[in-house]
Symmetry: C2
Subunit: 180 residues, 2 copies
DNA sequence: TTAAAGTTTCAATAATTTCTGAAACTTTAA
DNA sequence: TTAAAGTTTCAGAAATTATTGAAACTTTAA
């Protein structure tokens, strides 16, 4: 590995836990993304100096995130791993998977807690706050689930637009009102 | 604490590490959000059964996330803590703070690595991928930095619109083309 | 001043998470 | 069948992270 590749892979390791997995898995993911050729588990183990067992667990985890895919070569029993889809695809998957782990459980707890009437005024306040949080997370979840439907180009133009979306939205509202 | 409040606070603790902090800090944050009255460090320590020192460290951390604020009462030397701003404000802050910790370091590493020419074809491929990642994170960062400027209502209508934004964007493009 | 009320720090310990490597398992070619 | 090539599992060890609590520090009223 050249120094630049090395530094990228090690960086992915350091960031791994912040991105929702751990060091090893971060390194593995980084390595696979910048490798043109698919790699076997043993190659990953060698290049990263990580035990074979650890690689095996990492592969399972990366598969559960839907970030890598297996390939086979004719006349070769080994399994070759490569990233599943484009960088955009992977980013959207990480987004979605993290939403599932970081938001969904809270959403369902809040729904449960909001069901019955408050027992006293302290609880009434608490429930009102839970309602606020619920609405926010709910809106966020809906939005996030729609993102993949938009396709990379539109996503890109949306992001470039930034706060400008606000103006476009206002424009739309005016337009609708005028045609009513 | 009533069972419902209890369950919410404990849930925040369990989710704490997934949200970017740890159990104690998650609990503290949850407790403060659903408490109508500001709380002192000792009250937090009592209600959550957490050592006084731990609460002190948690307060510092929550302040570094800009999620809580201190208040004083006339004739009372104690410090009272309460959430800083609305739920939306807090969500935006968590978003921004996490971007700083999870994206910014990678962005700067990628910029560095992209500067000089590739040493060989393996590195050329790696650099192309890094470029892709950089562009994605860069777009994301710009977009995120614009969000707070939009205000809660517009944000809410944007989220409700979901993939529909795509159509609005197309509409805008057509409109601009027609008027060219 | 000083002592009481309050806060912070940090070394030691507890709890949790990650990693290893050897043993068990699976698949396939001969 | 069987043995070679490959993969997975998991108990224990290592590394990391969180928590406590006592001592040090700060502030203020008397």
């Amino acid at each position: 590995m050249t120094p630049k590749i090395q530094s990228f892979v090690m960086h992915c390791g350091e960031m791994g836990s912040r991105w929702g997995f751990n060091r090893t898995i971060g390194q593995m993911c980084g390595l696979l993304v910048i490798s043109e050729q698919p790699l076997t588990a043993n190659e990953i183990s060698d290049r990263l100096n990580i035990s074979r067992g650890n690689v095996s667990m990492g592969i399972k985890e990366l598969q559960s995130w839907r970030l890598i895919q297996v390939q086979h070569r004719p006349g070769d029993r080994k399994e070759y791993y490569s990233p599943a889809g484009s960088i955009w695809d992977m980013a959207l998957r990480v987004f979605e998977e993290r939403r599932k782990r970081e938001v969904d459980p809270t959403l369902s707890l809040l729904r449960d807690n909001m069901l019955d009437a408050p027992a006293n005024s302290e609880e009434a306040y608490a429930q009102a706050k839970m309602h606020e949080i619920h609405d926010l997370l709910d809106a966020l979840t809906h939005f996030a689930s729609e993102l993949p439907k938009m396709g990379p180009e539109r996503l890109h133009s949306l992001m470039k637009l930034g706060a400008g979306v606000g103006k476009v939205l206002d424009m739309k509202d005016k337009f609708l009102k005028a045609n009513k």
